[in-house]
Amino acid sequence: MSGPGERPILEARGLIRRFGGLVAVDNFSFAVREGAIHGLIGPNGAGKTTTFNVISGFYAPNAGQVLYRGRNVSGRKTSALAAMGLVRTFQGSTLFQELSVLDNVRVGRHLTARAGFLARLLGADRPSERAADAKARETLAFFGLEELAGEPASNLSHGHQRMLGMAVALSAEPRVLLLDEPFTGMNPQETRRMMSLVRRIRDGGVTVMLVEHDMQAVMNLCDTITVMNFGALLVEGAPEEVQNDPAVIEAYLGAAADDGAGHAA
């Protein structure tokens, strides 16, 4: 297994995102090293999802920067970020439900199956489309979905739908893959399978950053973990450091006691 390098591929510096009077992300910074599996955790309402949405271009930050491969990409459109290799997944069963499983992944190859308007009209895009189809089937095989290629996505089980969501993102050939709660709603067996797939994706040269509630999965899978609370950085470090950090324990216990007003470092 190749370890993470030293160079950060994705960085946030002093991110701030407000909604009306509410500060969801408050001067938050982190750095993801190339080749890492990096976890972002925190109690409910800590601002993880907002952070994710800012990094992936769904919202522009009110202040601060997102740096991708050393370039400031804050406020760029999601599609432009995808074209640069920064691709996200979604929570739950966010899929093209009415399209077939294969077509879902074919849409995922949007960026690599390029052709001009006239080429498409005249059918001159056939070679590149054939290649895209072949690649799409490869990706489906990687996730064990090749048998289901012709099914509408809405017919899949929840676990398969999560796999397909990953397959769509992976077929966009990302350099950094942002996974939004990849293990939610999975049984232990599916979780183990998903974990091994995430490792294989990383070993294939893709840096992975994930937001997750399943602490066990995060601790087992990640090289580095960033913990956020009240929109700001709480602790960052290796799983075992984070696990035993008193501030983290307090934050989670405080949240568990449902003490929304509880004070955190």
């Binding site: 459109k77 966010t94 093209f96 949007h110 960026l111």
Partner: protein, 332 residues
């Protein structure tokens, strides 16, 4: 590349369409011309709906094509076939410009925005008598020039001949629309319709693709407008108003928009009902009422349109066909 059965069916269809005008009276031939033009109008509208957006300005885009083509011939002496193409391009250009504000919105807001944009264009036609002719619009628009083969001169003033001209232009346009839908562009339109955030996340520029759909749809609406203007010889702002837009909506919804033949079915069936039944019975005044009732009833009871009747009926027949057989099997 099509299957033999499909080719055969198309061949029969075109043969029927070629014979059709000779079975019709003169006034029915005129209606047939307009029907063919309306087929293009509603099918181009369907392309936009593939992305999940419903516009209320599509008929105005047809008007843009009609006005542009008419003005180019009247003012600059551009030959009619060229001006028709230019009319389509003008509608496409207007759509491209309008995309900038309109596609900052989605769904209902886009619907209302497109309505506002269309009304503005119509008011401009009304207000600026030079060059648009004001509320009375443009009259004496040049007709499509005769074609003289020496041994045969085709006069497009004759509805039969214009019918064939329109049929050729519309068929070619429908083929292009079909190719677009079958290509990855069509797949991307569907993807945006069902889950635009996911599409965006794998690199689809939603704004660009929505614009593309709007521009293509408007181009063909503009072509339909050119065909209309040079046939009827006059255009005015009222002709491209909300009432006409309601008809397009009715055709699309009654026919269904899942397939290309859905809206065609809608416009053909409703035109036949309209012209033969209503006009025949002298019920011209109540026509809007009947259209309104059909619209409500189809939204309530046939939400997937006439196109969904065929498959449903077939499924039912199959079930019925199977059941007695199964019963017979048990008896034996």
């Amino acid at each position: 590349m099509w299957r033999i059965a499909t080719r055969l069916r198309l061949l029969i269809l075109f043969a029927a369409l070629a014979v059709l005008p000779y079975l019709l009276s003169y006034s029915q031939q005129e209606i047939a011309v307009l029907l063919v033009i309306n087929v293009l109008l509603v099918c181009s509208y369907r392309l936009l709906t593939l992305t999940g957006e419903w516009s209320l300005g599509h008929v105005v885009m047809m008007g843009v094509g009609a006005y542009a083509s008419a003005l180019l011939t009247k003012r600059l002496g551009v030959p009619v076939p060229v001006s028709m193409l230019a009319g389509g391009l003008a509608a496409a250009a207007v759509a491209a410009i309008l995309s900038v504000p309109l596609f900052r919105m989605k769904g209902f807001y886009f619907l209302i925005g497109s309505f506002a944009a269309g009304e503005i264009i119509r008011l401009i036609w009304k207000r600026f008598t030079d060059p648009f002719g004001g509320p009375k619009g443009l009259k004496r628009i040049d007709a499509f020039p005769n074609i003289d083969f020496g041994f045969l001169e085709i006069d497009f003033y004759e509805p039969v001949n214009y019918y064939f001209l329109a049929l050729i232009v519309v068929s070619a346009s429908l083929y292009v629309l079909h190719r677009i839908e079958r290509s990855r562009i069509g797949l991307t339109f569907h993807a945006i319709h069902w889950q635009d955030r996911l599409a965006e996340s794998v690199g689809v520029d939603n704004f660009r693709y929505r614009t593309l759909a709007f521009v293509i749809a408007s181009f063909f609406a503009g072509i339909a407008g050119g065909l209309y203007g040079h046939y009827v010889g006059a255009v005015n702002p009222t002709r491209f108003g909300v009432d006409q837009m309601v008809y397009v909506l009715v055709w699309a919804i009654v026919g269904g928009t899942a397939t290309l033949h859905g809206p065609i079915l809608g416009v053909v069936v409703l035109t036949v009902i309209n012209e033969i039944v209503l006009r025949g019975l002298g019920l011209d005044t109540v026509r809007p009422l009947i259209y309104g009732a059909i619209l409500i009833l189809s939204v309530l009871y046939l939400p997937d349109g006439l196109e969904s009747l065929g498959p449903r009926l077939r499924a039912r027949l199959r079930r019925r066909g199977r059941d007695p057989a199964a019963a017979g099997g048990r008896a034996a």
